[in-house]
Amino acid sequence: MEDQSISQSAPAAEEADTSQSRGLSAGVDDQLAPSTGGGKPRPSRSQAIFSALHSLLVPFLAVVTALLIGGVVIFISNVISPPVSTSPLYGNSPFNLTLRAYQGLWVGAFGSFDNISATIVTATPYIFGGLAVALGFRAGLFNIGVEGQIALGSLAAAAVGFNPAFAGLSPWLLVPMCLLAGCLAGAIWGGIPGLLKAQTGAHEVITTIMLNYIAIQIVSVVVNAVKPGNGQVRTPDISLNAHLPVLIATSTGLKQIHLGPIIAILAAIAVYWLLWRTTSGFELRTVGTNPSAARYAGISVKRNIMLAMALSGLLGGLAGAVEVTGVNFYHSQGFSAGYGFDSITVALLGKSNPFGVVIAALLFGALKSSAPSMQFYAGTPQDVVSIIQALILLFVAADEIVRYIYRVKSRGEEKVVLTRGWGG
């Protein structure tokens, strides 16, 4: 055992002399990293995965910090411009109103069965979108094009759903057809930047952003061509046979839990299984972590870049298809505004871990669906939710701030490469 701990300490000790620039405390943290892992041998991989939950500590603290600072923002906004509608219950001092705002947030998200249902339904596209971004991250790719992939997935699913030729088909056939059409559209839209990167080295960050614009224009052209005569810029309603079945009804009939959340959970399990239990996943992760070693080991880097982008796009397309068949029942221009970009925050917050993504997505669903309730309770503008989301992104991306505030030591955990330079 002594041997082991000595040899363990070696890389850290040898490294320490080069770590001056990172400052003394960072250097010492790194020193500790290997030996804390070395003290308790991890006998099985399931424990290794369990310990990954520890890595969700920093995101959790980031959320807590964002909520606290969000409270300060609400307080200041209450002082500067006192809200109009106030409840007599607590009085309307700025401090009490701040508490009321958070009470509203909580009640709006989890206060009743209907509210919980709304939270889950709102979270569903974030789960798919977060998984799409996370899968890309694992393969070393930054898919910023989820926005466009969702839009085209939604449009494709709607196109199958409202097509009169299919309207008479059984739901058992039509629903899967809509979902498949969404997946296919997303996979193609994600696959294009994958192909470009593999063949020409074009950076996916640039190409996916450009393809977002193209997707928006395609949607505009198609929607204007098929819009119903009532002046609304949207596709016709999809056939009732294309609706996802409702599993649990709500009293209002709105935001009812449909099959989508179940599909989302299955997708998370599938992504986990693919990445960590299959040879394909081994290749994707190896390409994402160390492309040079992947090439050395005989793994085709190009093929895996294309595969990862297509799969990522597929998940984005599925997000759109599930929204159309489960919630909207038509595709309107601009329905998805922001889902694709918020998905990046969800993936970062979930540490690119499929189950972490599910948790992060639920949080985003809760924030989004409870914003009106916050306004109702304390007159706080709904935009505060966007501020909180932005703060979460800030603290997750700059996790050193959170580690410093709460003195959380880095454990030298597996780092996910977010993106690399040109042609990397």
């Binding site: 040899s7 500790l32 290794a48 299959t278 040879t279 005989g298």
Partner: protein, 520 residues
């Protein structure tokens, strides 16, 4: 003798590790004192304490008879301690003067640097200590050896009395090392003291006035460089007797396994721009037979890296023929070549050989994860991967707490054992080993050398590429010397001497055999 520096009972604990255990260490004025030890023995920790990077848990640093306490490197610098790190801390686009001034600027006005005054002082210092360098040159334009002089000058610019040199020769050519040693002698004659950290035994014996050996955080003892032998020092470092020259029987070469005819490999696009030389490997012929080790010697950058990469499919072959076991590998993928029975220990183990964030178990199947028993169809078989890892960790003596420890957390020697274990665990006919022991400690070098010889004796053809002449001489049965992309000569081991190989490496020819050298 007057003491420049004394460390008394220094103890430093990191959780689970006693990095320094009551270390006593004295450096005399005008002395070169070598600090010797394997990776992880505690040398770097001790020097970081002396340089003020961490406080010791126990013990004290005594300078000029007075105990001192350093809270940061700037305290240590003020007290006259200078350190030249293994990886230089220079700003490449800045000039020598600017780099040396950095952090200790002389000012001509409130917002104006006084470069002229600094340059004048640098010129004086460089003349005084024989550290010749042009203060106006940009650091990016200097060779590694001259950059090191800038680092040393930086220490003396801050009035260092004690200079710590951490593995200073690791990055130098033999000629640059010799220059460094004469500079070091000059410094000690002017009363400076030097702490010289190294694990190259020959150098330590050649240059030091005193040697202290560390093992597992403790001082094992001191050695006198005038009487001690390399074997004595190695035994002290490792704690058991070490065979520096691995025993081997005569080779029994069989049929040719690797057969290279007129192979040509282009340089990287970026490297060729400006240099004008387009071919990294220029029409070479080479044969390696089963059961023999062919060593490829040469100064780095003469095409050895490209040779290894071309033979393993990582770089395209632009001309000629290459067969392994009778099958052409020109234009084939790394996967084809691996499956065809080629093991490759790559030159850069952290870039190519390992995925540092992956557990050891996954690194051990990096090239075979898709084959039974590690995969059933497309599903990974976790149990088989674990059992494989458990077996190889034992067989190759990889020191790790668990097979799921990330490769990043292992020492360099153990990382290389993971690479070697993986590559040799397959059924091979050819092993291509590039710089297999670079940066490793004595114990690991011995282990890797034995493993390579065992592979040879089991009938594997071995191509060993190494910049260490000693390694080539102790392992190879035949030696090919590469010079400017060509093979200057192939010499049987019995006829190879250091001098002859050295001449071939430096100029591509030896007068006596000049006629046989193809190059004009």
């Amino acid at each position: 003798m007057e003491l420049a520096l004394e460390l008394r009972g220094i103890t430093k604990r990191f959780p689970g590790v006693l990095a320094n255990d009551h270390i006593d260490f004295q450096v005399g004025k005008g002395e070169i004192h070598a600090l010797l030890g394997e990776n992880g023995a505690g040398k770097t920790t001790l020097m970081n304490i002396l340089y003020g990077l961490y406080p010791p848990d126990e013990g004290e640093v005594v300078l000029g008879g007075q105990p001192v306490k350093f809270n940061s490197p700037s305290d240590a610098i003020h007290a006259g301690i200078g350190m030249v790190h293994q990886h230089f801390k220079l700003v490449p686009p800045f000039t020598v003067t600017e780099n040396i001034m950095l952090g200790n600027e002389s000012m001509a006005g409130p917002f104006q640097l006084d470069r002229a005054a600094a340059a004048k002082r640098i010129t004086e210092l460089s003349n005084q200590y024989g550290l010749f360098v042009n203060p106006k040159s940009k650091v990016s334009e200097l060779s590694v050896g001259v950059q090191q002089r800038v680092e040393i000058l930086k220490a003396f610019y801050r009035n260092a009395e004690v200079l710590i040199l951490d593995e200073p020769t690791a990055v130098l050519t033999p000629q640059e090392s010799d220059e460094l040693f004469s500079i070091m002698r000059g410094l000690t004659q002017q009363g400076k003291s030097i702490i010289f950290i190294s694990h190259k035994l020959k150098e330590v014996l050649a240059i030091s006035d005193a040697i202290t050996v560390l093992r597992r955080g403790k001082v094992v003892g001191d050695a006198d460089p005038h009487t001690a032998s390399e074997e004595d020092l190695a035994t002290m470092m490792v704690g058991r007797s070490v065979i520096l020259q691995v025993e081997k029987t005569a080779a029994k070469p069989g049929a040719a396994v690797l057969s290279v005819r007129g192979m040509t490999v282009r340089r990287d696009k970026t490297a060729s721009a400006g240099s004008g030389i387009l071919l990294a490997v220029n029409a070479i012929d080479l044969e390696v037979h089963a059961g023999e080790i062919v060593g490829v010697a040469g100064v780095e950058g003469n095409g050895q890296t490209e040779l290894a990469e071309a033979l393993t499919g990582l770089r395209p072959i632009d001309g000629g023929s290459v067969t392994i076991g009778g099958v052409s590998i020109v234009g084939k993928s790394p996967r084809f070549i691996t499956v065809h029975g080629v093991a490759h220990v790559p030159e850069d183990r952290q870039k190519y050989g390992l995925v540092l964030g992956y557990p050891i178990a996954d690194n051990l199947v990096l090239a075979t994860y898709f084959e039974p028993p590690f995969a059933r169809g497309i599903v990974i078989n976790e149990a088989a991967i674990r059992d494989n890892a458990t077996r190889l960790v034992k067989e190759f003596d990889i020191r790790t707490p668990s097979v799921y420890t990330p490769a990043r957390n292992l020492s360099g020697g153990n990382q290389q054992k993971v690479v070697v274990a993986r590559e040799l665990s397959r059924d091979n006919r050819l092993l291509i080993a590039a710089q297999p022991t670079r940066g490793l400690d004595v114990g690991s070098i011995e282990f890797i050398h034995r493993t390579i010889i065992a592979a040879r004796d089991s009938g594997v053809a071995v191509l060993l590429i190494s910049a260490e002449l000693d390694e080539i001489l102790s392992l190879a049965d035949r030696i090919a010397v590469m010079y400017k992309g060509k093979i200057a000569a192939i010499v049987p081991r019995a006829e190879a001497t250091r001098e002859k190989l050295g001449l071939l490496m430096a100029s591509g020819q030896v007068q006596a055999i000049a006629a046989t050298v193809a190059e004009g």
